[in-house]
């Protein structure tokens, strides 16, 4: 059996984080949890996960700031990041920011099923 892929979940809402962790474990991934952007950046650089799920609106440090910091790192520049948020990509600024920082995907939580998110992850990681 090959080693489990590590996924970092950066999400401040405990219930949502719990659901993602559960489904990832079920699908044989190794989830790591961070409850704000600052923790997310620290954990990302320390553990270098295969993929990062990143919320945008969070206390202490928001997702955009975290994304910028991760992308500055040599390893972080290429790690696949899925922005998983409930903020619609309607705001011109947010969209341009997101585009400039080359995230892999931008998904709206309430529009996406957990299983489809997992499929997306499997697609990206070619599991």
């Amino acid at each position: 059996m090959k080693t489990q892929k590590t996924i970092l979940i950066v999400e401040d809402e405990k219930s949502l984080r719990g659901a993602i962790v559960d489904i990832l474990r079920l699908k044989n991934f190794l989830p790591l949890e961070a409850k704000n952007g600052r923790e997310g950046v620290e954990l990302a650089l320390l553990k270098r996960p295969e993929l990062i799920l990143l919320d945008l609106i969070m206390p202490e440090m928001d997702g955009m700031a975290a994304l910028t910091l991760i992308r500055k790192d040599a390893w972080g520049a290429t790690v696949p990041i899925i922005i998983l948020t409930n903020l619609s990509a309607i705001n011109g600024h947010a969209l341009a920011d997101a585009a400039a920082r080359t995230p892999t995907h931008y998904l709206i939580k309430s529009d996406w099923k957990l299983h489809d998110i997992v499929k997306k992850i499997e697609e990206i990681l070619e599991v």
Partner: protein
């Protein structure tokens, strides 16, 4: 064999046997110990079994608690639905109150303008009549004075004649006296002559009386003329007072007020207008209104003359013309949003000018923006608990944490689907908010409208089949790809299509066709045999959060946002949307028409693609 050896061997065996016996004894004792230990272990196992039973019971209790939590979640979902409806209701009320207010203000202003015009008209006519009367009186008085003079002259002449006659009479009397002595006839003549003389004297007296009477009349006439002149003066003064008062009222109105003549030249602006425009009255009066107040649109482009309310009133004779959002740049370069309304001033059925009312709506704009941002943020906050319910229900339904029984599945499916509806509602609210904020990114590209429509129809297939609706779709061969934003175009098609499906009863018919309308436009036509739109509500059907009464009763699913979104997108893309419906008559159906320009609109915001 050596006997000694044999003995020693048997001794060895014996001693060996003894050793074995001893070892056995040791083993036996150990076995006894082990047996005791086993007994202890058995007891422990029993205790563990008991504990496990306890744990199992606790687990059962936990399961019960979870059930309670699940119920609470359902309640929360209900509450959210109520909150969303209240939000919607509040938005509706505010919108209608604002409209009512605007309409009322416009009516009042129009009424005031008309009243003022009427008053001015009346006063003008009174003033004219008075002037005419005064002139007539003056003429009459002059004539009378002339007559009096003539009469006086006549009287004097008569008096002179009388004097002459008196002298003649005297001369005759002398002659008579002379003659009297001589002849009786002469006496007779003399007497007759005396009588004549007497008569003449009498006539002279009468004439004197007439002359005096005439002089009195002339004096009276002069007096009445003077009183009249005084009255005219007084009246004129009070009219001037009233005019000054009216002018003061106009000057002090809190909105900017500007009046023009029938050619559009400014004849009056009030103080508020001076302040708003940053220009003094004397700088602008007699100048063309469009030179004084150049209006800009949101992007700073000059609004063409034909769209100016004043011009619309003057040229088309519209009763009111409004420009709800224009911008005016002051001399100090400060730009502010302005609401403008113009009404004609009508005198004797003829437009003699316009009154334009305008005001600074910066504050209203800020409130609007804050409101929209609130909706956007609230939508985001609402989505978080909805996502939670979604994901956990999804995992339960998928059997990720164990199989559910049929009833549990059914209940959970209800929860899941209600939650989905809530998600849709929040999404629609968010779309509306961003449409109103103007942050919708329009990203036109060559789009295959037929393919996109087919895709949308496929999405609706389950609902179409469930209602046994006969569905026909045709896409003209000459319909080429059009320049449009596919995600917005999809929203338009989805909304109109899902409305047709939603509001057509079982066994009905829906037709969807796409054709080329003319060289520049493509036409979509969606007809159904549904409930129709009541006649008295047809003008409101594109209004935000409005739902017609006849479908409100039948279907509780709608958000009242779909057609509002459709119209916003279509009109922003340079197209048109309208419909035909036999209102009030049930099941006669509705047909919606949408035209979209083939070439689309210029890209408004440059955006880098993102995947979804």
């Amino acid at each position: 064999m050596n006997k000694k050896n044999t003995i020693s061997a048997s001794d060895e065996i014996i001693s060996h046997l003894k050793v074995l016996a001893k070892e056995k004894e040791v083993v036996r004792r150990r076995l006894a110990v082990t047996a005791k230990k086993l007994a202890v272990t058995a007891k422990k196992l029993a205790a563990i079994a008991e504990e496990k039973e306890l744990v199992r019971r606790k687990l059962a209790a936990t399961a019960r608690e979870k059930e309670v939590v699940r119920r609470e979640l359902a309640v929360t979902a209900d509450k959210l639905a109520v909150t969303a409806e209240q939000l919607a209701a509040t938005a509706r009320e505010k919108e209608s109150a604002r409209r009512r207010k605007l309409a009322a203000t416009a009516e009042k202003l129009a009424a005031t303008a008309e009243e003022l015009a009427a008053t001015a008209r009346e006063k003008e006519s009174v003033r004219r009549k008075l002037a005419v009367t005064a002139a007539k009186l003056a003429v009459t008085a002059e004539k009378l004075a002339v007559t009096a003079e003539k009469l006086a002259a006549t009287a004097e002449k008569l008096a002179a004649t009388a004097k002459e006659k008196e002298s003649v009479r005297r001369k005759l009397a002398v002659t008579a006296e002379k003659l009297a002595a001589t002849a009786e006839e002469k006496e007779l003549v003399r007497r007759k002559l005396a009588v004549i003389a007497g008569e003449l004297a009498l006539t002279a007296k009468e004439k004197e009386v007439v002359r005096r009477k005439l002089a009195v009349t002339a004096a009276k006439l002069k007096r009445s003329y003077e009183t009249l002149e005084k009255k005219v003066l007084e009246r004129t003064k009070s009219l001037e007072m009233a005019r000054a008062k009216e002018e003061a009222i106009l000057l002090s109105i809190g909105d900017g007020l500007l009046a023009t003549d029938e050619k559009g030249n400014i004849i009056f602006i009030n103080k508020t207008a001076e302040k708003l425009l940053g220009k003094k009255s004397k700088e602008v009066v007699k100048k063309k209104f469009s030179d004084v107040i150049p209006l800009e649109d949101e992007k700073g482009a000059l609004i063409p003359l034909e769209k100016h309310p004043v011009n619309m009133v003057l040229v088309t004779g519209a009763t009111t013309a409004a420009l709800p959002t224009a911008y005016y740049k002051r001399k100090d370069e400060k730009r502010f949003p302005m609401a403008v309304m113009a009404t004609p001033v009508i005198l004797n059925g003829k437009v003699i000018g316009t009154i334009k009312v305008f005001r600074d709506i910066t504050y209203e704009r800020e409130i609007d923006k804050a409101k929209t941002e609130f909706v956007s943020l609230a939508s985001h906050q609402l989505r978080t608990p909805l996502s939670t319910v979604n994901w956990y229900a999804e995992m339960l339904l998928a059997g990720d944490v164990g199989e559910l029984n049929e009833k549990q599945k059914k209940y959970l499916d209800e929860v899941y689907r209600s939650n989905q509806r809530m998600v849709e509602l929040v999404n629609a609210l968010l779309d509306v908010a961003s449409l109103e904020l103007g942050t919708f990114v329009i990203e036109p590209e060559l789009t295959d409208i037929c393919k996109l429509t087919k895709h949308a129809i496929r999405e609706q297939k389950p609902q179409i089949d469930a209602k046994k609706i006969r569905f026909s779709f045709s896409c003209g061969k000459s319909v080429s790809r059009i320049q449009a934003d596919p995600k917005l175009l999809r929203m338009v098609i989805q909304n109109i299509l899902s409305n047709a499906v939603k509001y057509t009863p079982e066994g009905g018919k829906i037709g969807f066709s796409i054709t080329v309308a003319d060289k520049k436009n493509v036409l979509m036509k969606i007809s159904d045999t549904g409930y129709g739109i009541p006649k008295n509500q047809q003008d409101k059907i594109f209004t935000k959060l409005f739902r017609a009464d006849n479908v409100r009763d039948k279907d509780t699913d709608g958000t009242g946002l779909g057609l509002y979104i459709v119209r916003s997108i279509v009109e922003n893309s340079g197209g048109k949307v309208w419909f035909k419906s036999l209102g009030g008559e049930e099941n006669k159906g509705t047909t919606f028409f949408v035209t979209l320009p083939l070439k689309g609109k210029e890209k408004t915001v440059k955006v880098v693609r993102i995947n979804k």
